[in-house]
Symmetry: C2
Subunit: 436 residues, 2 copies
């Protein structure tokens, strides 16, 4: 049998329905997909390339369900500030002055490259200049679902869904042959979108089979403002507008009550938990235990780097597990493998891609990581899920394969020059400081 790529050896975390962990097995990859998983002894294959994963962990690539790649150049620009100062004095004025195609493209290449380093193989991104984000991710080799954030604050903004809806369909056509890029519709949030934008976004999303990606109840005041303005809880309001008819990924979901949870659970909706960001901005702690009890699908997300300040889902897993153990007074709550599921197969399902991504199974896309376990902090090893969540950091991620292509080999990115990206970031820093 011919193959493009063979991964041999190592401990394979399949994340399949039986959560199988395989030793002495191989993954055979052809045309971007896993075509065979078999014991090494039974392998009959002539691969063009082989990754020796002996002594390593092999797992599905991690999926980041909410990000803002073009904010990468704002990393650490203005920390430890109240949210309104941070937004009104720093982030929004800078965005107004700086955001153009080149800024978005360059910052997104940097962020995409950084995500690959930290084991992310798909990100669900929302910002402006969506084709620049798509091109940046394609260059780095990162899979992306990209959306143009719709904000109605400008006069005539209500018509954005018409133009953006058309643009998304055109771009979907244009990128049809690019296996890395997909699109979604992103009404930014309840407080930034009109009823018409929300309703029309959902209609377009349902009509064209697009994911709907929006912010939901990140802060308490955001929820209270909805209650005050619309006399309804945020989820009730969205439901009444038909938004829950679409497949929805809601970022944050910190301030959601149990009635809203029941509505989310009975729809194709999920919450992208942004633990680091919510803590750093003191927005609150998402009610994960109640979400799970009500059957709401959960995944993990980094949010933008400006409020995190990295793009590291291993760190999100660690924070999320430990935080919710302590606030629920239960060290057995959210065991490590649950977090690994949230960062892989559950995330794929949340994005409507559970049949293609999120686990290592024959017929699925070859999006996977090889982690080096021959390091002090990885030894001894009793349980690989525990190590992923509690012990390792992103430096353990040695190789990254996306859609069958090796995009990072022995910690070095294949498609971009990291030294050039660093120089570019430093030039933009000078420009950003000059604008402040």
């Amino acid at each position: 049998m011919k193959a493009d790529l063979l991964i041999k050896g190592g401990t394979i975390l399949t994340l399949n329905d039986r959560m199988e962990v395989l030793e002495d097995h191989c993954l055979v990859i052809e045309s971007g997909k896993i075509i065979q998983i078999c014991p090494f002894a039974k392998l009959k294959c002539d691969p063009a390339e082989t990754i020796d994963a002996s002594g390593c962990l092999v797992m599905p690539g991690m999926i980041n369900t909410h990000s803002h790649l073009p904010m990468t150049y704002f990393r650490g620009l203005a920390d430890d500030l109240p949210l309104d100062t941070w937004l009104n004095k720093y982030i929004w004025p800078l965005e107004a002055k700086l955001i153009d195609h080149d800024f978005v493209f360059d910052a997104s290449v940097h962020g995409a490259a950084e995500m690959i380093h930290s084991g992310i193989t798909l990100t669900n991104d929302m910002y402006f200049q969506m084709s620049a984000i798509a091109d940046a991710c394609s260059l780095a080799g990162l899979r992306v679902i990209v959306a143009e954030a719709m904000i109605d604050s400008k006069p005539g903004g209500d018509t954005a869904i018409e133009s953006i809806g058309r643009k998304v369909l055109e771009l979907r056509e244009k990128y049809a042959d690019n296996p890395l890029v997909d699109f979604s519709l992103a009404p930014h949030a309840i407080y930034t979108c009109s009823e018409a934008t929300l309703r029309r976004s959902a209609e377009e999303a349902v009509k064209h089979g697009l994911l709907l990606h929006m912010h939901l109840s990140e802060t308490k005041s955001e929820r209270e403002s909805c209650l005050h303005t619309h006399l309804k809880s945020p989820v009730q309001y969205l439901r009444d507008l038909g938004v829950l008819e679409a497949r929805c990924v809601f970022a944050h979901g910190v301030w959601v009550d149990e009635v809203e949870m029941a509505m989310l659970a009975s729809a194709h909706a999920s919450i992208a938990l942004c633990t680091d960001s919510n803590l750093k901005l003191a927005s609150g702690i998402a009610p994960i235990k109640a979400y799970r009890e009500k059957g709401v699908r959960l995944s993990l997300a980094t949010d933008g780097v400006a409020s995190n300040n990295n793009l590291d889902l291993l760190a999100e897993m660690d924070f999320t597990a430990k935080l919710h153990k302590v606030i629920n007074h239960d060290p057995a709550f959210l065991p490590a493998e649950e977090l690994v599921r949230m960062a892989t197969i559950e995330a794929a399902r949340a994005l409507g891609k559970g049949d293609e991504l999120g686990s290592l199974e024959e017929g699925k896309a070859a999006d996977l990581l090889v982690l080096n376990l021959q390091e002090l902090e990885a030894q001894p090893l009793y349980n690989p899920y525990s190590h992923l969540v509690y012990a390792l950091n992103s430096h353990s991620i040695r190789d990254v394969v996306i859609a069958g292509s090796i995009v990072m080999r022995s910690h070095k990115l294949v498609n971009v020059n990291e030294t050039e990206l660093i120089s570019k970031a430093q030039s933009y820093k000078a420009r950003i400081l000059a604008e402040q």
Copy 2:
């Protein structure tokens, strides 16, 4: 001027009282100490060795104020379990069967090497077989304050303080020429020590100028048990026994009220915060805001690796800052530089070593880190404290100097063979699993 070592270039975070940040400066090191800090242009020096820190961050080594190095081989052995199951079914039976000189030495070399990798240059350790821990740290090149945990559960245990006290004084004599090793007295905790042990430990600590290191109010039930048994709060009980006469480092301090805080603040006492461990075991959240308001000195600690599961103070800084922002509803609470102070100069002061360690100043010991900033996750850089706390992970730590000796150069440990340590950990794993 002759010198053993020159650190040139980079951004130097001094952590001195003015929190000076120096560019284009050098650190001149001789006989284990920083003998000069000056602008590069004014340097007149003939160093035996030079570290080029251009493009890097130079900072004091981090100080871990509570650890159990010999537990390193239990990393991830039994996670996501209730505390009593974890202790009674796993940790304590294994300790009873396995702990001997060789186990403690080997596990401590592994842990010490791992700490150096993550930028720790001094750890305040408590376990059994204290001379094995001292020898292990000396081998790796890690500075250590080592203590034999005193537990009175055995018959005749009350006399432990007499024999351990003598032993500590003998060892202090024996290691007098070893700049890396110091000793403390460690009555394990209120619930494991008799009144006599606590009282006598404090007397010996005061008499011989030894630090007193113990666990304090890690869990709610531990506090309640003290209230029930002694009809006093834990700190009141210790104070009445004279324990607060000694310089005390109390690990955890999760369940401490404001009256107790006032007692701690007026003594030479400090709290070693173990955020990761307290969260993972769901012990609770230390009241950092109240501690600060009452003037209690705070430092950071990893605790043992079995409840963390790494030895990484950068991660502790990140967790601690973000957690306390959210629970205090204030993103401006605990800004990044406060965390860096807690991991360096405040920790040195907590351990009674503020005159020798914790900042980069002429006359102080040359314990320092060089962090590589030429990586994607470190760029752009607006504020080095923010990057240390929120953005970077331990992989950025490139070189580590302790007592003037380079113990890690370009990510490689100088004094130990990492491959051998990994093999050894794997052998012990087999033994540990066989004992379960």
